[in-house]
Amino acid sequence: MIVGKRKPFEEIKEMLKKYKKILNVGCGTCISVCLTGGEKEVKILNAELEMARKLEENPIELGASCVERQCDREFLAELDPIVEDYEAILSMACGVGIQFLAERFPEKPVLPAVDTSGLAVNQDVGWYEERCRSCSSCVLAWTGGICPVTLCAKGLYNGPCGGTDKGSCEIDKDQPCAWYMIYERLAGQKRLDCITNIQAPNEWEDQVPRTLLHHGYKKRNHSDKN
């Protein structure tokens, strides 16, 4: 899922300082699962903001809403009748949701309350670890199901580097070396031949904004181009 962290309170407060009436919109999917921007977090942030602004004698009126998914047009539609009443919108979704919201209401300032940090697994309640940088050319087949692009601090395709230290990465003793893990897993599977050949330089696909067209729907979505 996509994970993110709520921005520091002071930063959010600063962003909102010139507004008196704000709609705070959460998202009920990934960002809610990682306890950052769901219904509950919207309420908490609103309460904190209300309190702070009251103390500053600059009261603010805050609306609360939480859509099922901010990255989906059909769920954003339910906001159409209410945004008119607000000066700006604060979004507690991931970067994707925030942008889709801004795109739907181009005349309104849409402000982020979340710092999106990646595609992560749920290790335990409140503990998420990044696993994929969505590079568009997955190499997991020959790296034992461990992503070197994300988990190696240098994103090496032919690791490990000389800094690996008793299984840890050179950047931090608590950070496992991805290439050490790759080696161990492939050795266990007797598949070390996967990494004896040199992996050629990656042809980076993520240097332009990527659009994905499902082959079944190409006609519907891009009839003039394809």
Binding site: A153, N158, P160, G162, T164, G167, I171
Partner: protein, 308 residues
């Protein structure tokens, strides 16, 4: 001859090579480079010029290399993958060759986290293995990485690093084999303190026939003090410093520790001279360039051979 560099000639002629190292200044002083170079002149076959070593900004490696050439020394141009993409790398290689640079050392580079700009974006467009391949392609095929032709290919003697002490140990010799397949001509190893482990690695390399395909220069850094030894042991990732080295330094008077460090280094060098599969020594006397004349004298590696 692949490049005709002095280092290549010496190794090809079967001499025991001896290379040094110089870190460019954190500023614009060509004079500082010249001063350091003066200590190394005539004492080593080539001088590695580090590239933003430990991720700290310094004068560009190629620029300091040019100053060395002006001073009559042969540089070994270090290039890390951390700071530039494939376009910048190829451009720098062309420029470096145009200025007379003939040796290169291809490295991944320390992570930015260690340096003076810890939040800089690490580039790593390609890795050290791919960099070796790229230089070889430019040299031998006269082609850029993209496959398009380049005029007057850069004839570079291609080097890389190897750390026999990093984990997993069993993989290290295979990693060396990979670098050889990528096209490396010579290897300069990480600083060696654990002689036993190094010998084991060399033995495996001999058995796999790797030392016949590549020249291996053993890395030596004399310890200046007990403090330095402890720091290297505990804080430098991938460094293997056995307690016996620390105890030996502790065993002498504080003022004599540097001398003892040089003594240990010289004993190691004697062993390397006899070690099958080792073609030379790479001396990394970090901020100790002025000691190189003394070290080379005591290590009995002078005068340096002349090969035409």
């Amino acid at each position: 001859m692949k490049s005709g560099s002095n280092l290549e000639k010496i190794l090809k002629a079967g001499h025991f090579a001896f290379t040094g190292e110089l870190g460019p200044p954190r500023g614009t002083s060509a004079e500082e480079v010249r001063k350091k170079a003066a200590h190394l002149k005539g004492k080593v076959d080539a001088v590695n010029i580090t590239d933003n070593q430990t991720a700290v900004v310094r004068m560009a490696s190629w620029a300091a290399c040019i100053i060395l050439i002006q001073e009559g020394l042969e540089p070994n141009y270090q290039m890390v993958c951390r700071d530039r993409n494939r376009l910048a790398m190829q451009a720098d290689i062309l420029g470096a060759y145009a200025h007379g640079i003939r040796n290169m050392l291809c490295l991944s580079g320390d992570h930015c986290k260690f340096g003076d700009h810890p939040h800089a974006k690490g580039v790593f467009d390609i890795d050290s293995m791919q960099l070796i391949q790229m230089v070889k392609k430019m040299r031998d095929e006269g082609k850029f990485l993209s496959g398009s032709e380049l005029e007057e290919p850069p004839k570079i003697f291609i080097g890389a690093a190897a750390n026999p002490f990093a984990d997993p140990f069993e993989w290290r010799v295979h990693r060396l084999a990979k670098k050889i397949n990528a096209g490396v001509d010579f290897i300069q190893s990480q600083c060696i303190y654990n002689m036993e482990k190094f010998q084991e690695w060399i033995k495996q390399s001999n058995e796999m026939g790797l030392t016949e395909k590549v020249y291996i220069l053993a890395g030596v850094t004399p310890m200046k003090s007990v403090g330095m030894a402890k720091y290297m042991k505990n804080n430098v990732p991938g460094m293997d410093v056995p307690d016996e080295i620390i105890n030996r330094l502790k065993g002498v008077d504080k003022k004599k520790q540097g001398d003892e460090g040089i003594k240990i280094a010289c004993e190691q060098i004697e062993q390397f001279k006899e070690m099958k599969g080792v073609s030379g020594v790479h001396l990394m006397a970090i901020e100790w360039e002025h000691k190189v004349p003394e070290i080379t004298e005591r290590a009995k590696v002078l005068p340096r051979p002349q090969v035409d």
